[in-house]
Symmetry: D2
Subunit: 413 residues, 4 copies
């Protein structure tokens, strides 16, 4: 991940870092060892916690070695076995019955779950900020704009509620996609033949599906029939993350318009050192919105890569499509996390200049009431309307309430 | 829609045709007239069924006139008013209180709902065919292939069950996206100010939201807070349609591999005249799979256009993004419908050559059992495995059953 | 093509219509017949002009029949043979030695060439309008804006010159892509084995490559080694068209910002009936820019489909990728043509309010000169700068001249 | 860059790494200092080589600080000034007159040029390998395949020549895109007002454009009118890189088909440790092709992001689009470099089993000659064709020669 070329990337923390992916893979192998041991296939001594060897693993070295087999699991296993000198049973049994895709898919699902949780935390903060904005400014009239031109009056509360509505859609979908992330334990071609053989030869208890369920439970995931080649869990997650950046980018684009100096109804939160220019000391650039918008313009193509990959999962393991997913997913995840945090910060500190909104409404004159006059004239009641934009707001208040109610009833994931 | 350059397009029937879009817009305006009349805003005489004037409307003429205002609603209204000579009240009241986006969004939602229903019908046929294939061939052993190379044995039943699993994922998502399609009735800037004014000035009953709900109910849709600028209903539908083509394309790619003459485990259903070549009379090309795959390679970019549009919904109506959606949605819808029908036909008539599968397994020799021998050797039980690939199928049967059970419990949307 | 959902589509005229594609295919087959006859393979009587039967061909019927073989050439040939009752020799010889892909690729190249010519005509008009704007307004000072905020002064002439620069880049690339469009005459698998056989068996003169060159020349195209599976001619054309919409969309986005009522430095050309609203009679929406922007947001994904197709051209004819190209190319072509014409019209009639620009510069106060003061202060020469933004324009004039010179030296394609 | 999730990434070396981007930015600032000094604006003492401070710069720290201003130039300058304690004149003059986009655009162009050079080196190796394959195997007959089915005979030499043809198209375009990369020196809003002011106030010689040209020459690039908002240099480079991955992915897909065990006409070069499986010791997976294909499926969406960005360059510096380019460009560059090296290795060691090709041709029987028989029969000469596929190869040899000639005449960039 090149933070230099993706300013704000540090906000994504360790999510989808090489270190985290290694740790997630180790957790998956640990769970499998424990399940093998618990079922009586492997001896108790095999059930060690592999995360203890994490510090002996050099992800940069793994990355280079990963090319030979086309994935990082193979060199990881070599490294793990090498590091397990004191645990020969674990070295003997690690990964037995699994396939690389089991390990990596489940590891990426774990990383994705962590990412989704962090996104949802940011969304909670956004929802809180937006609900406050919607409520506080429910009577702040500003010009509604369509196709860039003044249309009819709205309130800033309504605009904030609309922003909120998009964020709530995203929250629904991220939650749901997160809830539908399964572990992957299927064996070489999705038949669980390896685990089944091990169970039979060792006269262990339970069947292979039970063994897979047991391992899945140890990493806190449901098991599902092997999905080596049916990738809805991945594309759904990608779509949900993109639904999030869609919502945030739409907010950012509004802020970018309304923070233009000629409009100046909104301003980004001021923080020392932010928004500066390399050459123009007076400038305060709306940097958060710029960076959020960047993520939003980028995400759809990444999610589309996941779909393209999904439809190319030929055979029992794809000839390139699986490999497409990894970086697309990690990049999309990190971009989304960055934008999530930036949006939360933007909304929490957004400066709303209601005075300026009112002045622009005043200077817009009767344009904002043209529809009202037109409708009234249409039914011969021209005289029954006045010239106060605050009287032509329709159901804005009730719409705000409806959206606020939805926000409040969201519960926890 | 250019069927010449999208062979099979006729399978999409009238969905998203200009004629259908016009009819859907007329249904929306009809519903609004009825709601206005029912609320006491407009006289009873205004509540006419506008579909009666559909035949007087020339979509080709509308299409040309649509450029001036940037959307087809404006010229449609002019044409409707012109055609309503015998219904002056209807001409007077049509569209009052609405905005172009209300009419077109709701019309496209209606078209989308029809499209989703037709897709789900095809999916039902696919599910039936796949369930039969999975069950019938649950013991037909063939070579599992990963990264194009022979891996371990599977059964064709399991492969069909995996295909089914992808289709069931698509079914879930198309159903859900369909269920979450709302009507759009929000007025010029989403405040319902126009409808509210009309209700007030005419002392009619109910509020603007009730009026909007009433109109929505008349086209069989739920009302939601105006979503002029929050486009999750659209992107969700696009994602679900793409999840469908993902699943079908993945099947098609398998068929294209397995129908190669050197493999020849599968063949497309034979129909007189299909699959021919312009110059090589002997050829029987897997045309259905080719065309399905074409749709699957195309869909992700179209769904991504919808996401890109979604994040560009600035202001109270976007400055170009809304306009992006229309053709992207229609194209994606028609492509999906075509591929849906082609996939249903492919699966219903798929020729499965289990004898050929068995012969290839036999000629693969011990390669398919290398994992088994490796695992057995690993625990010193080499002698306890035999050389019959049919004995190394793990939980294939149980996995098939799990997926079949899911297929059966699907219920209706 | 659904003009209703792509307002302005009629501007693309007949380009890439079903009728045109049919005519182009007939021109290709005509050229081949003539070449066969000229070489002495076919009798003179076979060399008929097949466009004469165009009117007997029903594209809608062809479109339906095209599904069986997966492309429109097969049913076209059946229809042509059926219509050639009076020309049995032509019916006998039509298409002999060719493959469907020869006919359709060359036909699409012909359509693409016509499209490129029409785009270049619009570009010429744009160049003329932009050069005039750049020259006329080279001293009209307005606020330069970066990251939406006021930066330093520029002139509108410079902005127009920058727009022009983008259009000139597009002109270069469309011209070059057009010049590199080859005919496709390769036979079933790109070996020209069929034509070679016919030449040998009939003791005709010349070799198969000469025959192919002869046919290519008859449709005014160079011949190149068969490019059935190497698609740079197609992706280059797609990239060049997208480079055009990139340039126009960037102009449109500027217009959309600068035509906002709070800025109002630019306005779209006024035409009766354009820019109207279905409900707000006062509005004049910047419809041209909205529609241009729509095309610009859409084109990159279509060009990407062509690249994706290009990399999937497996075997000697692809298993779906070729089929992806057709509609993507036609859609991209028509969208580009529409946007080309709209941009030409926008620029020819653009209203530039230099007074408004000056007033906004004045009201921006010293912000626009902060860089100047900062630089001067930095070297202790604060007193040597004045407060006139017109004195801080650097090399704007010379830059304009450089770009104008490039525009003028363009020559003809 | 996460090599763990993009196996083979180390092949891209330092290109587009944070370290390299920092160095490139320092080279740009160094060139500017030298130009300022040379023109007499800054004292001679200011003209220091800033790369000497590179080792004091921590890219990870810069990356974090880059968020505040939205780009890495601002914190870089702070760090540079801090590190220039012994060079107060350099600290004083560094970056004066420039804008962040000048520095970063030119730096990325330098990185891109280095990337293009490395890609072209790999392409040279590919061309060499492909030319050898085409020539060596010009008489090796194999089955031509269209839509996955046997068509007519071809030679492997012709297939290799077709692969070569695609690579030569890529070579043309990468060379041309590289040649058209300009430096960016335009100042805050592309007017060169800052440099112009400095020249005037210090009575230095030359004008601002001459100064910009001088700086550009010092980094070996041509100067062009500021292209802050006209991004053809970037999109052209992206398109050319994608044209490369298109060509390589098409080769990889052929290898993946022809290396299937049931076909086995080709095999990847064997190297100890490559292609292994985590669980199936017998497998030799075609890993290079899998990884090349992965890059090819990914590139079009990245290039499309660059186009999307290009059309969003509003104002004198964009509100997010510029920021989109950086990581898209770096990712596309690194992916292309990786795939370039992998393709060169694949082709240099490709195992061609001409015996297997001949056996498959034999087993295909008369199918491969159906076209020949059909054509001969059509003109009543059935008896004049024999059953040897080697006699039905048309102009394959001449086509190979034409492509080889093009390869040889390539010259150097």
């Amino acid at each position: 991940m090149s933070g230099l070329l993706w300013p704000g990337d540090h906000r994504a923390g360790d999510h989808f870092s090489d270190d985290e992916v290694v740790r997630c893979m180790l957790r998956v192998e640990t769970a499998w060892l424990a399940a093998l041991s618990d079922a009586g296939v492997a001896p108790t001594a095999a059930a060690v916690d592999l995360e203890q060897v994490a510090e002996t693993i050099d992800p940069a070295k793994l990355a280079i070695e990963a090319e030979a087999g086309g994935n990082p699991v193979i060199p990881l296993l070599a490294a793990v076995r090498g590091a397990l000198g004191e645990h020969p049973e674990a070295a003997h049994w690690v990964h037995r019955g699994l396939t690389s895709q089991d390990t990596l898919d489940t590891a990426l699902v774990l990383a994705l779950r962590g990412c989704a949780d962090a996104v949802l935390e940011s969304i909670d903060r956004q929802v809180e900020a937006l609900a406050a904005l919607a409520d506080e400014h429910r009577h702040a009239v500003l010009a509604g704009r369509t196709l860039t031109q003044h249309a009819v009056p709205i309130t800033f509360g309504l605009k904030a509620a609309q922003w909120l509505s998009g964020v709530l859609d995203a929250r629904d979908d991220v939650r749901e996609a997160r809830a539908r992330l399964p572990a992957q334990f299927g064996g070489a071609a999705g038949t669980l033949a390896g685990p089944d053989l091990l169970l039979r030869l060792t006269d262990a208890h339970g069947d292979a599906i039970a063994l897979a369920r047991s391992a899945a439970a140890r990493v806190g995931l449901p098991w599902s029939p092997p999905w080596h080649t049916t990738r809805a869990p991945i594309t759904r997650a990608g779509d949900a993350l993109t639904r999030s950046t869609d919502a945030w980018g739409r907010i950012a684009r509004d802020v970018l318009v309304l923070a233009r100096p000629e409009i100046a109804e909104l301003a980004e939160p001021v923080e020392v050192g932010r928004g500066g220019s390399s050459t123009m000391p007076h400038k305060v650039n709306p940097v958060l919105s710029v960076l959020i918008r960047r993520a939003a313009l980028t995400a759809p193509a990444l999610a589309a890569q996941l779909h393209l990959a999904a439809t190319e999962f030929v055979d029992e393991r794809a000839d390139g499509a699986w490999h497409v997913e990894w970086q697309a997913l990690a990049t999309l995840g990190r971009h989304t996390l960055t934008a999530a945090a930036q949006t939360a910060e933007l909304l929490a500190g957004l400066h709303v200049d209601t005075g300026r909104m009112a002045r622009l409404v005043a200077s817009a004159g009767t344009a904002l009431l043209a529809e009202e006059r037109n409708l009234a004239g249409h039914i011969g009641r021209d005289d029954d309307v006045d010239d106060d934009p605050a009287h032509y707001l329709g159901s804005s208040d009730a719409i705000i309430d409806t959206i606020l109610e939805r926000a409040g009833s969201g519960g926890t994931p």
